[in-house]
């Protein structure tokens, strides 16, 4: 209890990189770029310059044009804007959408709202490894389908969907394709010039930027049009009104710029840490089961089921670790993860699964200590339990 907490929940959120915080602090006070970026005067132009530089930085990480990046309050708003925006703008063309059962709640709940508004949604079930196979998408497309929304990397199990192949299918059928890339940006190479993706959501705080800022990529060629969610001053090409939060945007830009510089060395480092953690856990607890695809997975996320014990007890026993049992957004209600249930895990296994996610500041010693703590507490709880 007194020892320092080992933070292994980078998929929930990351600390702000000190280099990012430094840039942000330059946008807040009298001496900095505090002015309204929409103002015509000198300080306003300076702030606008900083915002546009950040837009360039975000675009550069994912191979987009700066004009295709719309700043939002986070990936949840980006998902809402993309899905509701397309659904409402193109409702005269069709009212059918396709998504999967293991999307982030920001996509699931948005699609459920559209169902209540009279749209039809097809909910794809992933395969046993947690992947949405491209043929699954093609099979359910209809003449009135307007949008497919499939996440790039699953936030709970880290599996990577083949968005290149899914995009080829949607483009062939003239259907818009939205991708939630909150967990993949900066972890996997993304080049929107070569992908048939029309809309892509990003988060600042998953990549060592601040919370409260995100972005939506909106393709210009071929053009995607959206009904805005928020009306006001016509900011962000009229798609997202509201005074731009210069410090947040600059922070996200710097975070994405750093991720671009460090992607090639950081991803292998995280993969090595994740593998070290899995090997240590699996050696100490041979019963432990990997949730998700064994190889098609993002570098930082490891989701493990621990059979024979109760999940909440394991989580509390490992109080020295900051980890998640399922998505952090849903762990408050302590229900077995809907993602793991969709993969076919029973309630007991889903409930006793832990998501570990390593990040930029994770050390090898922390991974070793985490594996030791989990395996010791697992054995203790297993010894406590009745036979059978």
């Amino acid at each position: 209890m007194n020892q320092k907490t080992i933070y292994l929940d980078y998929a929930a959120t990351t600390p702000v990189d000190p280099r990012v915080a430094e840039k942000m602090s330059g946008c807040l006070t009298c001496e900095g770029m505090f002015a309204n970026p929409a103002s015509a005067h000198g300080p306003g132009r300076a702030a606008r310059g900083a915002v546009e530089q950040a837009r360039n930085q975000v675009a550069a990480l994912v191979g987009a044009e700066p004009g295709e990046i719309i700043f939002t309050s986070g990936a949840t708003e980006s998902d809402n804007l993309a899905i509701k925006g397309v659904a409402h703008f193109y409702k005269h063309k069709g009212r059918h959408l396709v998504t999967s059962r293991i999307e982030h709640k920001a996509v699931l709940d948005t699609c459920k709202q559209l169902e209540r508004d009279g749209f039809e949604v097809t909910w794809l079930k992933p395969d046993a490894d947690g992947l949405i196979q491209p043929p699954m998408v093609e099979q359910v497309l209809r003449p009135d389908t307007v949008l497919v929304s499939i996440m790039h990397v699953n936030n709970e199990i880290g599996t990577i969907n083949d968005i290149a192949a899914i995009g080829r299918i949607t483009r062939k059928h003239g259907v818009f394709f939205h991708v939630d890339a909150a967990q993949s940006a900066g972890k996997l190479p993304i080049d929107l010039k070569t992908l048939f993706v029309d809309l892509m959501s990003f988060s600042g705080h998953k990549l060592y930027g601040p919370k409260g800022i995100g972005a939506l990529y909106v393709r210009r060629q071929p053009r995607v049009q959206l009904d805005p969610l928020i009306h006001g001053g016509g900011h962000e090409h009229g798609l997202r009104s509201g005074t731009l939060a210069t410090h947040q945007i600059v922070g996200m830009g710097e975070a994405f710029s750093l991720a671009r510089q460090e992607l090639t060395k950081e991803a292998p480092h995280l993969r090595a840490l994740r593998e070290k953690l899995w090997q240590a856990l699996h050696t100490a607890v041979p019963q432990a089961m990997l949730n998700g695809h064994p190889t098609e997975r993002v570098c930082g996320i490891l989701n493990v089921a621990f059979p024979g014990i109760e999940g909440e007890s394991l989580l509390f026993a490992c109080g020295a670790l900051a980890v998640s049992s399922g998505s952090a957004c849903t762990s408050a209600d302590r229900q077995p993860s809907f993602v793991l249930r969709a993969l076919g895990r029973d309630d007991q296994l889903a409930g006793s699964s832990i998501r570990f996610s390593v990040g930029r500041f994770t050390t090898s010693a922390e991974v070793e200590a985490a594996a030791r703590i989990v395996s010791e507490e697992y054995r203790r709880l297993l010894d406590l339990a009745p036979v059978g």
């Binding site: 209890m1 109760e310 026993a317 007991q348 010894d383 406590l384 339990a385 009745p386």
Partner: protein, 146 residues
């Protein structure tokens, strides 16, 4: 009884302590004299408790053991109850309210199901007291498997 709340958990320090270092956990060796076994709950329902009461010839609970699968509260309640029952007449053990214990600990009402499971396991054990159980002689030494 409930003590201060542990800043790192939603449970009191008492619950945390008994979850982390439970008293009397384990089971008596097979064939140990005077042992009554009771069970309640099921893993598929989130908690299962196997409780053992060791009873003396004069109907006193000499010792307790248990095995438990469940949330931290279920484990802590088994531990606290095992301490409370030692030295009690079997009739008192059978009437012991784990739900009241949970209330004293300040546990929310949704955790009372855990208390009921522990209570049911104890009553199941106490209910098996009859002439077929060889009582523990007053001075008998016994062994147990931790």
């Amino acid at each position: 009884m409930n003590g201060s709340m542990d800043p790192d958990t939603e449970y009191s320090a008492t619950v945390w302590k008994h979850f982390h270092t439970p008293s009397n956990a384990g089971e008596f060796l097979a064939g140990t004299a005077g042992v009554l076994n009771g069970e309640a709950g099921a893993r598929q329902h989130g908690r299962a408790v196997a409780f053992q009461l060791q009873v003396t010839a004069d109907g006193q609970v000499a010792d307790c053991r248990y095995r438990v699968y469940g949330c931290p509260v279920t484990i802590a309640l088994c531990s606290l109850t095992s301490e409370a029952l030692k030295g009690q007449p079997l009739t008192a053990a059978a009437a012991y309210s784990v739900v009241s214990l949970a209330e004293q600990l300040g546990l929310p009402a949704e955790k009372h199901a855990a208390a009921i499971t522990v209570e049911d396991a104890i009553r199941s054990a106490a209910g098996r007291y009859n002439s077929h159980v060889q009582p523990l002689a007053a001075a008998t030494e016994f062994t147990y498997r931790a």
